[in-house]
Symmetry: C2
Subunit: 258 residues, 2 copies
């Protein structure tokens, strides 16, 4: 077999379409119904593709919101808040959402969440809606959130769909934030290309690609916050397999930075 015969087919273009018409999400809202309506309004079939949804609307629909007024900060939260010039109630929520603090300095808390993700403030965002300061927490189980949303959309006629929930994370060494996946359903988070050959017929040294993180990042180009784009529909990315967040989390014992 010649090298050219071994080549995989040229992939089709990828199209990423923003879903704009999603109203402000409230606890208890049916997110599948809201996204179904937004897709209809945008003229998007929402089938045979990947729907990337930002964490914030998922958390809000699931009621993962805490009013700061209801929080009694611990001594540790008060101490950290004084050192870092933060709201002690925010710090208290971050501590509750953290399995441990990976690094603290320069006013930043890098936390390992109870799910095993490492990110600033354990993913807890402050949101100052008029009249009440609230913290928005990560979903309790983002894979389950993605699965429920996928099932809800399937029930509304959206077939052959994968769902990725994305959040905006910083990272070591590089400036600027990028979007990453914090949960998914209907797609293998990691593409294992070990043993494939490149276009010179050589075995690849690169081993595994974080497909869902690349999806989150690409879709993030459209999730411009002031344009109100909380979801992006991606067509043209193969959706072999399934899996979830645990596929993306490095075993702490194998991590050089923990």
């Amino acid at each position: 077999m010649s090298v050219s015969e071994k080549k995989a087919a040229i992939p089709a273009p990828i199209q990423m379409t923003p879903l704009a018409d999603v109203p402000a999400v409230q606890p208890g809202d049916d997110l599948a119904a809201l996204l179904h309506a937004a897709a209809k309004s945008a003229g998007v079939a929402l089938s045979e593709g990947v729907l990337v949804v930002c964490q914030k609307i998922v958390s809000k629909a699931e009621g993962r919101i805490v009013a700061l007024a209801d929080i009694e900060p611990s001594d540790e939260a008060i101490r950290i808040a004084e050192e870092d010039e933060k709201d002690p109630r925010h710090v208290e929520i971050v501590l509750r959402e953290s399995a441990r603090i990976v690094r603290r300095g320069r006013g930043v808390m890098i936390c390992e969440t109870r799910h095993g993700m490492v990110c600033a403030n354990a993913g807890v965002d402050l949101s100052n809606t008029p009249g009440s300061d609230v913290a928005v927490l990560l979903p309790d189980d983002s894979d389950a959130s993605a699965r429920r949303l996928r099932e809800g959309l399937a029930a509304l006629g959206h077939a052959d769909l994968a769902v990725v929930i994305s959040d905006t994370f910083g990272r070591p060494w590089r400036e600027g934030l990028v979007d990453v996946a914090i949960g998914s359903s209907g797609i293998a988070p990691i593409a294992d290309i070990r043993g494939s050959q490149d276009w010179m017929g050589r075995e690849l040294q690169v081993t595994t690609m974080a497909t869902v993180d690349q999806l989150a990042a690409g879709a993030g180009l459209l999730m411009i916050k002031d344009a109100g784009i909380p979801a992006v529909f991606v067509e043209g990315v193969p959706r072999r397999g399934d899996g979830g967040l645990s596929d993306l989390l490095r075993n702490p014992s194998e991590d050089l930075f923990r």
Copy 2:
């Protein structure tokens, strides 16, 4: 002014088109001419967009290739190679390309390159072409490489184009590799959205997004190595401003993981 009047316009969809017909690149090749031909073959205008090009073909065109047979490993390279079960000549090249080693363990060298990037093996890839084992180094100045390519393509009639050079990096805490930008021309690497408002009219806490890294990651979905896609043309991403790699590099003194 009402909240709805403050909304930014809904962004257009993003389209990512793979450029497949790029032959195996040799030192001295005119990359602009090769990509011009590939775009023509794919029926892509290659104007008003961002061309994401993988580092490997840029490095090869620039002759950033070293034959392992020509390398005399130092004592330090021999020592590390024995500990990590690596080729001492590969380790020697990695050391030469590194300003310092950020972390070493589990057979992995995380290096700060002379450019200031932090990545495994200082970005040095081994490539075992039949008959000669070679190492492919990062471009000496990826921003200059991007600028030259952009100018070369402009001279061939491709107007209003930005160029991003991408490479595939691992990261702490998360499994799987993602594509990131190692150089660019014609686009601001970081989008500063401080002071913008979200769709509820609240000031955004999120500050800066790494646009070129999101571009590299999204395009990476198509750079499936065994399909031979070394470049992807992206339409629909705003290209305000300009800048380069230095915008993406965190000051080591402000980095919690160095």
